[in-house]
């Protein structure tokens, strides 16, 4: 969803856009290359002759063995950046995640802090943290790398959050955790896309560093979830689970799932329970100054767009 939005935005601005992914994009304005991060040859072909690379590919999941995450998220990033540097690419924007610096404590108005793989929660966050560190490490004045960490991206067509929330709400399996009062920052997809593009345009100022990107409109998690449910035509959740209980249940489910080798996503993980019961919102002042960027779509407008999407 986010890659699509970025590609569309760049193409609309007159850039010539090439994509690399496993399935065709279906976009007429871009040139598709098929391939994956573990395929060096495909990567070399894809970066040949381009000025800049925006790297959004990752294995995103709450579950799974460490090796899978490392192969795609860490080694894949190393592969891509090495090929890009060899091909003479000038600029790289690595799309990261605020979870690289999230150690399970509430985040209340914090700025961007350094990625900490050792303290990251879960394999996804750990692998993204490692990848961000290695990407920024490679940044030089001739090969400029910057990282953007959009926080909880959502919008029409989002399968990670929106679809899951709506599906679970429809099935009556979505609880409110700890009263839903934890204040969280999110990013409407168009804003995440425009921030990534802004990062590329302003890489002079951002080179070698990471910036957290959000809508800058923190909201109680319960209100956001309800808003998404309503936009998707589902009844918002009513039953409340205390935060501690959810975290305990999450870690239990997590263990059982891993032992059982279940393929799909578990209904609740400790990481998710923490995400839903502790505050995480950020100080956006530095990000906005560095990127010279403002989000164009408010949360309220985003929810309206989401509702329009589902009404269609």
């Amino acid at each position: 969803m986010l890659g699509r939005a970025v590609a569309t935005l760049l193409a609309a601005a007159g850039d010539s856009v090439r994509t690399l992914q496993r399935r065709p994009t279906g976009l007429s304005s871009v040139t598709d290359h098929a391939g994956s991060l573990t395929d060096r040859a495909a990567l070399a072909r894809a970066v040949d002759g381009v000025d800049a690379v925006i790297h959004l590919a990752a294995k995103v999941s709450f579950m799974g063995p460490r090796s899978d995450f490392e192969a795609v998220n860490v080694e894949g990033t190393r592969n891509l950046l090495e090929e890009a540097r060899r091909a003479g690419v000038r600029d790289v924007v690595y799309v990261s995640s605020p979870s690289v610096a999230h150690a399970g404590q509430p985040i209340v108005g914090l700025g961007t802090t350094t990625a900490e793989p050792a303290r990251a929660r879960g394999e996804y966050a750990r692998s993204k943290a490692l990848a961000e560190l290695l990407a920024l490490e490679m940044s030089t004045p001739d090969f400029r790398v910057a990282a953007v960490r959009p926080h909880i991206v959502w919008g029409p067509g989002d399968t990670q959050l929106v679809e899951r929330v709506i599906a679970r709400a429809r099935a009556g399996r979505l609880p409110v955790i700890a009263g839903g009062t934890a204040l969280i920052d999110t990013t409407y997809v168009d804003n995440a896309a425009s921030a990534i593009v802004a990062c590329l345009r302003r890489i002079d100022f951002v080179q070698g560093r990471a910036v957290v990107v959000t809508n800058g409109e923190p909201r109680p998690v319960g209100e956001l979830i309800s808003g998404i449910c309503r936009a998707g035509g589902a009844e918002p959740p009513r039953w409340n689970v205390p935060g501690a209980l959810a975290r305990t249940a999450g870690s239990l489910v997590e263990r059982v799932w891993t032992v059982a080798g279940a393929a799909d996503e578990p209904p609740m993980t400790r990481f998710l329970a923490e995400q839903l019961s502790t505050a995480h919102w950020f100080d956006q002042r530095q990000t906005r100054a560095l990127l010279d960027w403002e989000p164009a779509v408010s949360i309220e407008q985003g929810l309206q767009k989401l509702a329009d999407h589902y009404r269609r």
Binding site: G109, G179, G243, A279
Partner: protein, 895 residues
């Protein structure tokens, strides 16, 4: 010394000092440990402004002063904190060192270090006494003295504090202080909040073994509890000697100390009358751990020992060159001797008629009689008299009698609650408490200082309440001479306590000149003067009746709860004296409207003759005033704005409020539509409090992006800043709050009110909230009141508080609302805060957006915390703390 939290290891030093003390054999050399930031200062090449010599008490050590050493490095002051012998890491001498030895010891130490001036001694606990002993005998280089919770004199007739009595009991002493660490433990437990375990361990570090603790036991034994004690003479010598110290002095105190209570502070201030005093109301014995003692000390040093060309501000501000004012009792004198001497001056209402009254002559005579009685009782110029008497004839008499003889009246409101009241009384250390039985019971229960005089009949008996006299006795014994001499107009006349809705109640000191200024302002602004008649339903202004030359009557009401004033009681009072003016609290107005059906025909007529209504203390909604206007059709309804420090500051009447609200409305719509002629720019976003009262000037000091008021005073419309006031009736100072006073008066001649607001184009002031309640969002400073008003216009909302959560500069704005009970629905009342339902959240967001603010969250609670006195001022700091916790999510710390 091992590494300890807050201590730079480089500070730790040892020195061998030859002893001149009688406790040691000749030729003894003692090893002293001390902390010293001097080497650090010289390494950094910092010019040294002076030296602080800090002396700890028992059972602490130089560790107590670590914050002074750290800040001293930044401020250019060398700070030396010594470990007394047998204490800390200094030598265990195996001798018993008495006070005189310890003073000699300190002299030996200072000599060994070649300390030259300027030197400021700093002491705590018994270290305070030792440091004063040094200061008293070594004046050549002495530049100042600083004391924290200590005592220099024990009144022989009074028992020593019970904790010490316990520690001195023969069976307890050795076991409590040396065999076990009980004395250490008890002392450390006095810190509030609790000491962190590392800090606690640091305080214990030098006292691990029984032998280490010998000094602690001996220190306790050396407390001269009675005149027969061997150290009593040495103590008395110092106590008397310091009376002639002529250097600046500062006393920083933690009153929640079971040993060194306010009584000892009072004693010290009488020995060093020019001392600056700051009491940290919430701090206790270990105040260095509880409060910003270092910050206060260095701010004071900066003031008293300025660098460069800045001149030291003189201890007392130069007396104004103004002519002496007419004293508060001027009109009382005039009228008691004039043709109206037999007409009514003061009265109290009973159920429906006058219960008690005095003519002008009777009042003047009674004031003289009571003044004479008080003089005979020992009350004189500068004595502090706490008046715990409900408004009425007796209170009026007592106030004027005290002022007349130069005594300082202390007035605290029962609305503070028992605890708050008790703290206020103790902090003001009255010489005399004059009270009704309930107050005297509290005085005994809470151990208030001061001799006691009763008012009214007592059921408990004089003896039990330690009452020495009664108001009746004072006024009936044969009149003695009352000097005809008026007090110094610039001497203290009154200490009035703030409501405590913003932290602990503060004592506010007024001089006679300032009280006269208040009278003139109230009289001039509201047209009150000789010949008028007023119903005094609101205490602060009530005392001004005789001063204005107006007859005054106290209506029949529960005096501690202004909301109990009924329409009937008000009308009865108005009818009884044919009132022209009414003073009533906002809560009283609400009740008057609610009980209007109880009015009689003649009562209605009496209210119909009232021409002035004043209601102060909290904003009064226009709607309520309109309802009041129906009952008092010809009265002008004014709602003065002010604070205990300056009463009143500005005023606005009902017509003014309605006009201001219309202007605010027009300004809001004009903003959307672009410039519109006739629109008053700056109207809105706050409560309009009108224009300055007679004699007062107003200004604001603009806020920086992080919410600090630093702008030069301005009246330019549309600039939000801290509200400043300058008037003849602004307070003299805060009582024993040196730092608070310094902050409030740092922009001479202005008093900084701590309120935030702005002017509109028409010169009216709009109050936007408290300085402590402003919200610093990214890119803009927001104030709460305007947004709250927008939210309170919503049907579902009864009361709203708007607060910021998160770090300053990037705060999220949160609304916490108290909803109106939903009609018909019998929902379970939950005490827990919840997210507002989607409908309310949406309406609240769009209302706030109109005011230019994005609300991050809207929470609902059954009841917001409001102040006791007015039942209206929301404790937003409390709400913010609480909302911050709720919105951070449950504790995510996982086991």
């Amino acid at each position: 010394m091992v590494a300890l939290p807050g201590v730079d290891p480089a500070w730790s030093s040892y020195v061998d000092v030859p002893s001149a003390s009688a406790a040691d054999n000749p030729g003894t050399v003692n090893s002293w440990h001390y902390l010293d930031n001097g080497p650090q200062l010289s390494a950094a090449g910092t010019a040294v402004r002076g030296t602080l010599l800090c002396v700890h008490g028992n059972p602490t050590w130089s560790y107590l002063w670590r914050t002074l050493l750290a800040q001293g490095v930044l401020e250019g002051w060398r700070v030396i904190a010594v470990d007394q012998l047998d204490m800390g890491f200094s030598r265990r001498t195996r001798t018993f060192r008495r006070l005189a030895d310890r003073v000699t010891d300190l002299e030996d130490f200072a000599a060994a270090l070649h300390l030259d001036g300027p030197l400021v001694t700093v002491g705590h606990d018994w270290g305070g006494v030792v440091s004063l002993g040094y200061a008293h005998r070594n004046r050549a280089n002495l530049a100042g003295v600083i004391l924290t919770n200590t005592a220099i004199h024990q009144e022989p007739t009074k028992p020593i504090p019970s904790l010490l009595r316990l520690a001195l009991l023969p069976g307890v002493h050795r076991i409590g202080t040396q065999t076990t660490s009980a004395f250490l433990d008890v002392t450390h437990a006095l810190a509030r909040p609790k000491l962190r375990s590392e800090v606690r361990a640091a305080f214990r570090a030098p006292y691990r073994t029984r032998a280490d603790r010998a000094g602690i036991a001996n220190f306790v034994s050396d407390i001269p509890a009675t005149p027969s004690h061997p150290s009593y003479a040495a103590l008395t010598d110092i106590a008397e000697g310091i009376r002639t110290l002529d250097v600046p002095s500062l006393m920083v105190w933690g009153p929640r100390d079971p040993i060194f209570t306010d009584t000892y502070l009072e004693d010290l201030t009488r020995r060093l009358p020019s001392a600056d005093v700051h009491r940290f109301e919430d701090a206790g014995h270990l105040l260095q751990e509880d409060a910003d003692v270092a910050g206060t000390i260095f701010r004071w040093l900066g003031e008293r020992f300025p660098t460069g060309s800045r001149k030291a501000s003189t201890a007392a501000s130069a007396p104004p060159a103004a002519p002496p004012p007419t004293f508060l009792w001027h009109q009382l004198r005039e009228r008691s001797a004039g043709p109206e001497q037999d007409s009514l001056a003061v009265a109290e209402m009973g159920r429906d008629s006058i219960r008690r009254s005095m003519s002008w002559r009777e009042l003047a005579d009674d004031v003289d009689a009571v003044a004479a009685g008080l003089t005979r009782f020992g009350v004189g110029s500068g004595s502090r008299v706490s008046l715990m008497v409900p408004p009425g004839v007796d209170l009026t008499v007592l106030i004027y009698a005290c002022l007349r003889i130069g005594a300082v009246i202390v007035v605290a409101d029962a609305g503070l609650g028992t605890k708050g009241l008790s703290r206020a009384v103790k902090g003001s250390v009255p010489d005399v408490v004059v009270g009704i039985e309930r107050a005297l019971l509290a005085a005994r229960l809470f151990g208030w200082p001061g001799r006691r005089i009763s008012v009214g009949t007592l059921s408990a008996g004089k003896r039990a309440l330690h009452v020495e006299s009664s108001l009746e006795t004072l006024r009936t014994t044969p009149p003695g001479p009352v000097g005809d001499q008026n007090p110094d107009p610039d001497a203290d006349a009154a200490i009035l306590f703030t409501s405590g809705s913003t932290g602990p109640a503060k004592g506010v000191v007024y001089t006679h000149r300032q009280l006269s200024g208040m009278r003139d302002t109230v009289g001039g602004t509201f047209g009150l003067g000789p010949g008028g008649a007023l119903v005094a339903g609101f205490a602060p202004f009530a005392l001004l009746g005789p001063a204005l030359g107006a007859a005054s009557v106290t209506p029949d009401m529960e005096v501690t709860a202004s909301k109990t004033l009924t329409a009937r009681a008000l009308a009865d009072a108005a009818e009884a004296i044919d009132a022209t003016a009414v003073f009533a609290a906002p809560a009283a107005l609400r009740n008057i409207v609610a009980t209007r059906d109880g009015l009689t025909a003649s009562g209605k007529l009496a209210l119909g003759r009232v021409t002035t209504v004043l209601s102060a203390g909290a904003p009064v909604p226009a709607l309520l005033l309109q309802q009041v206007q129906e009952l008092l059709p010809v009265a002008s309804l004014s709602t003065p704005y002010g604070m205990t420090e300056a009463l009143p500051v500005s005023t606005i009447d009902l017509e003014g409020i309605l006009a201001a609200e219309a202007d605010a409305e027009a300004e809001a719509t004009a903003d959307a539509a672009g410039a519109t002629p006739g629109v008053v720019r700056g109207a809105g976003n706050g409560v309009c409090v009108g224009r300055a009262v007679q004699g007062a000037r107003l200004a604001v000091s603009a806020l920086s992006d992080d919410g600090v008021p630093h702008g030069t005073p301005t009246t330019e419309p549309g600039i939000t800043g801290e509200i400043l006031v300058d008037a003849p009736h602004v307070k003299s100072r805060y009582h024993r709050l040196w730092r608070t006073e310094e902050m409030s008066s740092r922009t001479a001649p202005w008093h900084r009110t701590g309120d935030v607001g702005h002017f509109d184009e028409a010169g009216r002031l709009w109050v936007e909230g408290r300085l402590g309640h402003i919200i610093t969002t990214p890119g803009a400073v927001r104030t709460p009141v305007g947004i709250e008003q927008a939210l309170e216009k919503l049907d579902a909302v009864r009361l709203a508080a708007v607060v910021g959560v998160g770090p300053a500069g990037t705060q999220a704005v949160v609304a916490v609302v108290e909803p109106l009970p939903a009609p018909g629905r019998n929902r379970r009342r939950t005490r827990k805060p919840v997210l507002a339902d989607a409908g309310l959240a949406e309406r609240a967001r769009s209302a706030a957006r109109m005011a230019g603010v994005d609300l991050a969250a809207i929470l609902t609670v059954p009841a917001l915390p409001v102040d006791i006195r007015h039942n209206a001022k929301i404790d937003r700091a409390e709400v913010a703390k609480w909302a911050g916790g709720v919105l951070a999510g449950g504790s995510s710390r996982t086991p």
